[in-house]
Subunit: 346 residues, 4 copies
Amino acid sequence: MNFASDNAYTAHPAVLDALMAANSGAAMGYGADAVTAAAEAAIRDLLEAPEAVVRFVATGTAANALVCAQLAPSFGRIYCHDDAHIETSECAAPEFFSHGAKLVTLPGQEGKIGPDTLARALQAGAGVGLNGGRSALVSLTNATEWGTVYAPEEVAGLAALAHEAGLPLHMDGARFSNAVATLGCSAADLTWRAGVDALCLGGTKNGAMAAEAMVFFDPAQAEGFDYRRKQSGHVLSKNRYLAAQMLALATDGLWLDLARRANAKAQVLAQAVQDGGGALLAPVQSNAVFATLPVAVHRAARAAGAQYYLWPDKSAEGADPVPVRLVCAWDTPDADVERLAAILRG
Amino acid sequence: MNFASDNAYTAHPAVLDALMAANSGAAMGYGADAVTAAAEAAIRDLLEAPEAVVRFVATGTAANALVCAQLAPSFGRIYCHDDAHIETSECAAPEFFSHGAKLVTLPGQEGKIGPDTLARALQAGAGVGLNGGRSALVSLTNATEWGTVYAPEEVAGLAALAHEAGLPLHMDGARFSNAVATLGCSAADLTWRAGVDALCLGGTKNGAMAAEAMVFFDPAQAEGFDYRRKQSGHVLSKNRYLAAQMLALATDGLWLDLARRANAKAQVLAQAVQDGGGALLAPVQSNAVFATLPVAVHRAARAAGAQYYLWPDKSAEGADPVPVRLVCAWDTPDADVERLAAILRG
Amino acid sequence: MNFASDNAYTAHPAVLDALMAANSGAAMGYGADAVTAAAEAAIRDLLEAPEAVVRFVATGTAANALVCAQLAPSFGRIYCHDDAHIETSECAAPEFFSHGAKLVTLPGQEGKIGPDTLARALQAGAGVGLNGGRSALVSLTNATEWGTVYAPEEVAGLAALAHEAGLPLHMDGARFSNAVATLGCSAADLTWRAGVDALCLGGTKNGAMAAEAMVFFDPAQAEGFDYRRKQSGHVLSKNRYLAAQMLALATDGLWLDLARRANAKAQVLAQAVQDGGGALLAPVQSNAVFATLPVAVHRAARAAGAQYYLWPDKSAEGADPVPVRLVCAWDTPDADVERLAAILRG
Amino acid sequence: MNFASDNAYTAHPAVLDALMAANSGAAMGYGADAVTAAAEAAIRDLLEAPEAVVRFVATGTAANALVCAQLAPSFGRIYCHDDAHIETSECAAPEFFSHGAKLVTLPGQEGKIGPDTLARALQAGAGVGLNGGRSALVSLTNATEWGTVYAPEEVAGLAALAHEAGLPLHMDGARFSNAVATLGCSAADLTWRAGVDALCLGGTKNGAMAAEAMVFFDPAQAEGFDYRRKQSGHVLSKNRYLAAQMLALATDGLWLDLARRANAKAQVLAQAVQDGGGALLAPVQSNAVFATLPVAVHRAARAAGAQYYLWPDKSAEGADPVPVRLVCAWDTPDADVERLAAILRG
């Protein structure tokens, strides 16, 4: 029973089928092949963004860090949530790729930055002068690290603040599919129509083996980006195998279908948590449940072999109740979900 | 009436005399000259550290950033106070020089990190895995950015925590002289005897034109450092002019004499603040006063031409009382100090 | 008829089978899975190096640049051939990952550095002082960029020079399999027994989709390496899919079998070149032919649809004879090889 | 008798006078002072460039590396001479500041890049694709590392090639004053009128203690530059002392006067070399003589205590004739010049 992460699960068969289909004959390297072209087009279609520049990499850390470095100079300030993946979970990759950009982290309930918080931070950032560096980028995560989502109008409000300050808006969409599935909006509504400048569109947690798309809605903001990607070792020579994965997800709405499956499993667990006397730490709006469990329930789950992280404090073992993070993937076995749910209900 | 910063004031005549004395005849470049040798020896003597590696640069930001990069890899975590100069005032230079090291900032009353806070942070840092990077360095500022000082035993306590975690301890001593002058201890007591591994010893704010020393008490920790300094453009070709400044300060206790002068001026202002209904935000233990002033007093000071920063919130103009920072240099005119003190008294 | 690169071809079916086999059930991320453990063990076995640290990445540029940055500081000098991939074809990735290390390029017949050349360069490097940086690493490519190979004794001679100078030896083995297949030696003979400290073992050009191994024979030299890899975005979350590819190649000698196939195709072309009045620019010792073709032959090949690069001067179109590079992969169709060979024979 | 470098000598008394004059009263830090404003204006006047952005740093390496990083991205190619200071003598600072830009070095007689060589290199650079990086900058040194000068029309020719390729032109003018003194042209003729985009104007070798100006003739190319300088630790807090030095040199033509003095001394040595059977390796057009000396003459010079470098091969000791570099400063004692000249004459 693995609820540790959505990256603990498998790739969808359609992804493997796409790899096999791509595995035929010669193709020019480094993205100059037909599968890559098709996959880039498919992502542009998915986003209703015919002019967008789309590129692929194999990890979410690479995607985020490359986009951050593209949009922020070494002396830039990047505004993000306290719990943003780029701050907590990428081993300072954005700083490394940008050569020093500072992440200015902002508090916010349930993983979301509020507009007042952002406005104040941008105002403060405008006054730090050479000492504090130059404001460069606002980064949102959607769905957030707390499993919540920003609605299009929320994104639009934050984007307006960023743009007023002259900054572009980056969206870390490692779980973008889960957000769209919950919101029922279009991918365009949640991105460029709301003012997002660059999107990292996750594939790995959505059913790929290892594939992420980076999307610049304004091609001018992608100037030189291919060199940047190459210099960091993130251009695959046999790029078709990377592209094929994203193409499979983008085909026939598979990306949304898989996200819906994962989200639904999380809803089952969320209900069970509440039924069993646990408390949700945040509304369950994507594929993860953040909750506190009575310690007896936690112990029963562990005894049954359930794998998950204590969160946000991994050292909270022994607390009562225990704060936990339960993540579902598209293919977390329903039997496992039901079994854990039964335990959670007490 | 300039109380904005101790870098707003002049170099001591002895420093200029030393420059003139050094300005004679040929000398090999890049530090291979007699003045440099004498100055390095003088700093080693001052610190009672005959084995230490001593080098000079022209700015405090360079000194701090070079030492941080020497002691922390790109994936390192550097623990420092929320208000540390390396965090707030160096335009992400430590991140730039180290290529990405993350400053993990810690709260603490009056600019000081408490041992419990550091212990918890180090414990947390030990658990972040690859995601969060590797704990690499603890950095203290003494005197702090709030004008307070760490006593030798406080430094020793924090150093012990750092060393237990396998990390070296860096001391940003831009105002180290002011701390020693207040504490009445030896420079050795406050550094290597207390467990400090590397010291940035400020000269600029202490009466030099532009000179700082970097000291590694364990030569092994300075391995390759000269290349690092060279690559960052911080090796002066006519190095004798840099060294002469530090030599002048280290001669006949001038460094301590000047620090005492600055500290004494701050005491005058501190008393005046309290006499006039203001409140000290932190004990005045070096050459700066952090206080809130009744807005009427603030307005009177401004009307009289007093220059100083609102602090820590530069945008606090209009608040009542107003938080301010009043910094004295060795040569802040006594007349100015008296004049401002009179205003502060109301 | 694609002879442009060995990365223009496909992954071996066994690689895809391994992906499918790995695509089952939950597995912890970031390499903490059984497939990764098995693949690392397989590479250690292949190299008869039970203590070696083995890690995987998806591109050869990442592998080389990460190892270079691990073994050379920002102020380091990395000695390599004028035509080394790290110099000509990685968009300055080694400089980026190391933050400035300088590639000192050395001439050499047929893509190989001679011992006298290396000895002189290391001697010169010992005298450049701070100005020129510190000698840090020697990097060889085997098979070379000219399709030739260093024999174990040649590697040993160069390694001895490097080690005498206190430098480790890196081997870029993007086509290591082709070299071993030609030499008939063991992988251990060509690496650690000859003094190689770190090997980048290519999988992509050898029949993987996107997989390379980095091997440090002395674990001490891999200190901190996992953080470095993580910070550069090269740790895959679903690492089993990366490892499975290398495991497939390492199983039952598939890696050598595929290399032999590619090498044999190159021999066919080499003979045809000579039969048709072309001249080999270097002995054909791996899977590529470097030759000059009579312009008529070149035109006939192009007319028949043969894809390949002019080399080393891509702008040599119009020269007579024309210098070309013809690369074979394990699965370059024999029919294509025969067809091109017929054209080459004139 | 020190002929090792022009940085082995002293600062002109006017520079020290300027320091003393600046050493009075309070002044806001980081360049917001009257002396800095005056010095920037003086450099703009000297260059007849009223719109130029002028900034100061303390070392030539910092000046060059900051400008290179401003004008070239991490994936940029910087074209320079094989013997350019940025290539041979700055410990890979341009690579460090730019985070990886590659110096593409070009051969050329007497330290100068010929237009055909540059044209071919730019054409080749246009064809290297992602593999080789993107052409970003052309850098000239004037006076060159061989003591020769580019005339305005030569600069204009090279600048035209750079601009046609879309690249800006940087001039390393560590000895710019010596070049202007020889050419008798205006500083404007040799820079912006000839197409130079950014100039590093040396002060240190021209009679300052430690001061260099960086000049961007097009302010748009200086966008964000102050942050870049700050982040690298090269903004002095008491900036007036840096600026005062450059102001002194720019006042009443002192910079040219000192350069003429140094140049004249070199002419004396050049004549003596030839009189004594030595051979000039390059025309003596600035303040250094590059020559081969009969070994007997060399030994006599060494015996008399003359300090100078063998050059370009520092390990040429024992060759006959011996290649040497003899550098004069504005204040190399005439007695020393005469004494060495007498020895050189044999």
